[in-house]
């Protein structure tokens, strides 16, 4: 529910931001037509810009996903020695694994045939 809310907030923010930009452009052209000096944008456009920017920023942060823990040891706390100490590139295969395999005895013969096939 909240994720769709965030999406709407983000879209609303962007739309409002564009609207503010459009209003600012309109204001400038109005000033040019009436030949007035430009001093500053009207307060409502400025307010709308700031508000919509904040809304869009908030929305996009919430859409981007879960926040990560800023303390670096929190993620590391979940690591276990069992997985950390497991090194796939240093596996050796002459361990007791083959004893538990029911078809272990055919390993040398079948292994040879397949290697030659490759």
């Amino acid at each position: 529910m909240s994720s769709s809310m965030n999406k709407y907030m983000f879209i609303l923010g962007i739309v409002l931001l564009f609207h503010a930009a459009y209003s600012a452009a309109q204001h400038r052209s109005y000033l040019r037509l009436t030949e007035q000096e430009f001093t500053s944008l009207p307060a409502d456009i400025v307010l709308q810009t700031i508000f919509s920017l904040l809304l869009a920023v908030f929305g996009v942060t919430m859409i981007a996903g879960e926040f990560k823990e800023i303390r670096s040891n929190i993620d590391l706390q979940k690591k276990t020695w069992k997985n950390l100490n497991n090194r796939p590139s240093f596996y050796t295969f002459n361990h007791r694994g083959h004893i538990f395999n029911p078809i272990a005895f055919s390993r040398s013969s079948s292994g040879k045939g397949a290697l030659e096939a490759n």
Partner: protein, 291 residues
């Protein structure tokens, strides 16, 4: 096991998780491949090749040559010139204990591509599985001279040195690892364990420091807490220990054992664990340092 994993997408996610988390689980991998994924290989897309490699290594680990052959031939069909597949072939020779064949292939790969780290590592394991630990160490130190940032290799070298009881060199390897990730409590714990094994008052003091840091980084690290308790008890009973530090050590050991009983109290085996802790305390103190 894992009766709930019957849908191929679940299995794919599980295997992916295991690949990323570095779990060995070879038997389960092969079983799941046979039961579920083998029938849905086409749906895996590009990830399928990664899965095949994973299953292949797992099958070698269980010496299930049928599955291994299947995976290898599939990979070979898809990537006939790949050095990675050639390395897998070498691994298969290794598993069937034809080490010379494996070495030939690996040397060829390294000749073609000098930066092929994985093949260099396989050479180390070939020496290791033949029991030639000294040669394996030499090969691995040569490797580490080129690839200094390889944490896996430092860990392996550390274990090899430990098997040779070269504690100082093993400690050096873990120091290297700690530089790579200073907030990893497991490396700190490992370093403390090596120092504790070395023994002697100075080493115990170092071990205690590192155990404390490990326990600080992860208050639920039972092994670090046990280590902290044991080192501080040992230090308190050491004759070199000044009386000021003795008190400190006793306090620390009490704190650690409290921490442990709290941790274990939160599990169910309250009675059992408290008895063990008491027994450990009695065993370690032995003399009158605490009483």
């Amino acid at each position: 096991m894992e009766k709930q994993y019957t849908h191929w997408e679940d299995v794919r996610d599980l295997l992916r998780n295991w690949r990323e988390e570095n779990c060995r689980q070879s038997e389960d991998v092969v079983d799941m491949w046979n039961d579920v994924l083998a029938n849905h290989f086409g749906k895996l897309g590009d990830e399928g090749w990664l899965v095949l490699e994973q299953v292949f290594i797992a099958a070698l680990d269980c010496h299930n040559m049928e599955v291994a052959n299947f995976c290898l031939s599939k990979l070979n069909q898809e990537f006939p010139d790949s050095l990675r597949v050639k390395r897998l072939k070498a691994m298969k020779y290794e598993a069937s204990e034809k080490y010379d064949h494996a070495l030939d292939i690996l040397d060829l790969i390294i000749k073609k591509d000098e930066t092929n780290a994985a093949s260099r590592k396989r050479k180390v394991t070939i020496y290791k599985s033949q029991g030639m630990i000294i040669e394996a160490i030499k090969e691995l130190t040569d490797y580490l001279r080129i690839f200094m940032a390889d944490q896996e290799a430092w860990m392996e070298l550390c274990d090899l040195y430990i098997s040779q009881q070269e504690w100082n060199k093993a400690a050096f390897c873990v120091e290297e690892l700690m530089l790579h990730s200073p907030f990893n409590h497991l490396y700190l714990q490992r370093y403390a364990e090596i120092k504790y094994t070395q023994g002697g008052y100075e080493n115990l003091e170092v071990a205690r420091t590192y155990y404390s840091q490990a326990a600080k980084l992860n208050p639920k690290n039972v092994r670090a807490l046990y280590g902290l308790m044991l080192t501080s008890v040992h230090m308190a009973s050491n004759s070199k220990c000044p009386s000021q530090k003795k008190k400190e050590s006793i306090k620390l050991s009490e704190w650690a054992s409290n921490q442990l009983s709290q941790l274990q109290g939160s599990n169910d085996s309250k009675l059992f664990s408290s008895q063990i802790l008491e027994g450990l305390g009695n065993l370690q103190i032995g003399n009158d340092s605490k009483n």
